[in-house]
């Protein structure tokens, strides 16, 4: 009995028997598994969306920039020198010059005030330097850089354009928090579903349990088939959840790619990695085992031979 190979052989035999029993009632098995799958797919989908947003919000990428509005006193021909100076600062990746004429042209093009501006004797717009921070900069580094640039005598105002990034981060935060909360709640729902199914199965097989106890079956022997059934339900549910999430992902791939494209981010709408898939199976199996175990430890004791 202690020989591990004999034990494994016995375990596999029991698992197969539990599977065959489930296969004998395919519709009921499928229904229960589908309920578990649908329950699992919601936290799974949230997880997938959150993990697609993560690289988007992770690096600063092309998205973040600092706009330096220069004082009127700075002449256009001083701009290239200033640009060279800024490029030497740590944390600066690139600097683009928008001189006053270019700024005016841009303003005319986008504002619709072109005719009114013509009435002004002078160009009222300041020159702008657009600074792109280094890729590995985090929010604090950006703030430090902004403070430093603001201290320059030529600089009038610094504007940091990263509100969308902050929002994205907040959203991602919310999503991953929601994944956990929903995952815990729906995990509980899976436990209850499996527990209830196993409870019905125990009631259905009450006479078999009674006779088994009568002829001296150990508690472990009686418990085992129900625990295996729970594990199978969990595994089937996990596979169905994976399948549903893949289909959902295919459906939301186009708008997701559009969103990613807006942020100049390349995404591939891949479903789960192999590791994540195995983790999903593990979670399903663990929930199944736990749910079955709860039902078994509550209800097997109620059935005693008479």
């Amino acid at each position: 009995m202690t020989d591990p190979r004999a034990w494994l052989g016995g375990a596999w035999r029991d698992a197969r028997q539990a599977l065959l029993r489930l296969a004998r009632a395919p519709l009921a098995t499928l229904t229960t598994s589908a309920v578990i799958g649908i329950t699992l797919v919601l936290p799974l989908a949230l997880y997938l969306v959150a993990s697609h947003l993560r690289p988007l919000a992770g690096g600063w990428d092309e998205g973040a920039s600092l706009s330096l509005f220069l004082r009127d006193t700075v002449a256009d021909d001083a701009l290239p020198t200033l640009r060279q100076r800024l490029l030497r600062l740590p944390g600066v990746a690139a600097v683009r010059i928008i001189d006053r004429a270019a700024a005016l042209a841009e303003f005319r093009r986008y504002s619709g005030f072109g005719e009114a501006l013509k009435l002004l004797p002078d160009n009222p717009l300041p020159a702008v330097l657009v600074v792109r921070p280094a890729r590995d900069s985090d929010a604090q580094a950006i703030e430090r850089l902004a403070a430093r640039l603001r201290a320059l005598p030529q600089v009038d105002q610094v504007q940091v354009d990263h509100a969308w990034l902050e929002r994205l981060r907040a959203l991602q935060h919310l999503l991953s928090r929601a994944t956990w909360v929903l995952g815990a709640l729906l995990g509980l729902a899976v436990l209850l579903t499996i527990g209830n199914t196993v409870r019905l199965e125990i009631q259905h097989r009450a006479e078999e349990i009674r006779v088994s106890k009568l002829i001296g079956a150990s508690d472990g022997f009686i418990r085992r088939p129900f625990l295996y059934a729970g594990v199978w339900y969990g595994l089937f549910g996990a596979v169905i959840a994976w399948w549903l999430s893949t289909i959902s992902l295919i459906l939301i791939a186009p708008p997701l790619r559009e969103l990613a494209g807006l942020y100049e981010y390349q995404t591939q709408a891949s479903a789960l990695s192999l590791g994540e898939f195995l983790a999903l199976l593990g979670i399903g199996a663990a929930l199944g085992l736990l749910g079955a175990w709860l039902a078994v430890s509550r209800h097997l004791r109620e059935i005693e031979p008479d």
């Binding site: 009995m1 009674r210 006779v211 106890k213 009568l214 002829i215 001296g216 079956a217 150990s218 008479d306």
Partner: protein
């Protein structure tokens, strides 16, 4: 006095289990009271030696089934000392109950077969719960079916069998693991006299090879012709024992 100290010695060696050579069943002032009921058993003194066969009889409600249930630990005694197969049942831990039952082959009036399994699987159950290898199970099940004359029915479902055949499946299941003790509660209850005689003869055959057999039956006509020990219960008391006809029974 001597036997008491001997018993104490055995107790200290192994409290739950010590085989007193000879006595497979030993009741000492055993009582059983059901809650909310006067009925049960009162102060039963009774011994069955190894290899003995006895019948337990009495009116309906006398306590025959109760006595068998105490032996198989389907009920716990309310008082007295009960020793079966060397185990002191009063102090047996719940987790040891299953092991105790595995050493007893139990046969029931309503045979308690699993009706969604065929004859082979029903008879195999006691071996399956022991974790025996499939090949060994098949060999032993066929031997038990052969002995009970059911070899040709191994694939049949119980509902397709006659009452006598179903009872023999129950007997095959009780003996397949070769228990040292067989208990039968009204094994011929639903059968006609000819079939009843066959069943008793079959149980006698197991007794011939050394198995201790205790059978509860109200069929006094039948059992009085078999020349075995007869115990009579009345209102929960043992009032007569053919092995001890002079004994004080009150």
């Amino acid at each position: 006095m001597k036997s008491v100290s001997l018993a104490k010695q055995r107790l200290s060696a192994d409290p739950a289990r010590s085989r007193a050579k000879g006595d497979v069943i030993h009741f000492e002032q055993v009582s059983k009271r059901y809650p909310d009921s006067h009925a049960g058993l009162s102060e039963i003194d009774l011994s069955l030696r190894q290899g003995e066969m006895a019948f337990l009889t009495g009116h309906s409600g006398a306590g025959k089934s109760t006595l068998l249930k105490l032996i198989g630990l389907l009920e716990r005694p309310s008082g007295g000392q009960l020793r079966v197969l060397g185990r002191y049942l009063n102090r047996l831990a719940p987790r040891q109950v299953a092991a105790h039952r595995r050493e007893i082959g139990m046969i029931f009036q309503d045979n308690r077969l699993l009706f969604d399994r065929n004859v082979f699987d029903n008879v195999a159950l006691p071996l399956v719960i022991r974790g025996m290898a499939p090949r060994e199970i098949a060999r032993r099940v066929r031997a038990a079916l052969d002995k009970t004359g059911l070899l040709h029915k191994e694939r049949a479902l119980p509902v397709t069998l006659s009452g006598g055949e179903q009872q023999r499946v129950g007997i095959a299941r009780a003996v397949v693991a070769k228990p040292p003790l067989i208990l039968a509660d009204e094994p011929t209850g639903n059968l006609d006299p000819g079939l009843s005689r066959d069943i008793m003869a079959l149980l006698d055959e197991f007794n011939q090879v050394g198995v201790t057999v205790l059978i509860a039956s109200h069929d006094i006509e039948l059992i009085s012709t078999l020349g075995k020990r007869i115990l009579v219960l009345e209102e929960g008391r043992l009032v007569y024992d053919t092995a001890n006809p002079e004994g004080r029974h009150d």
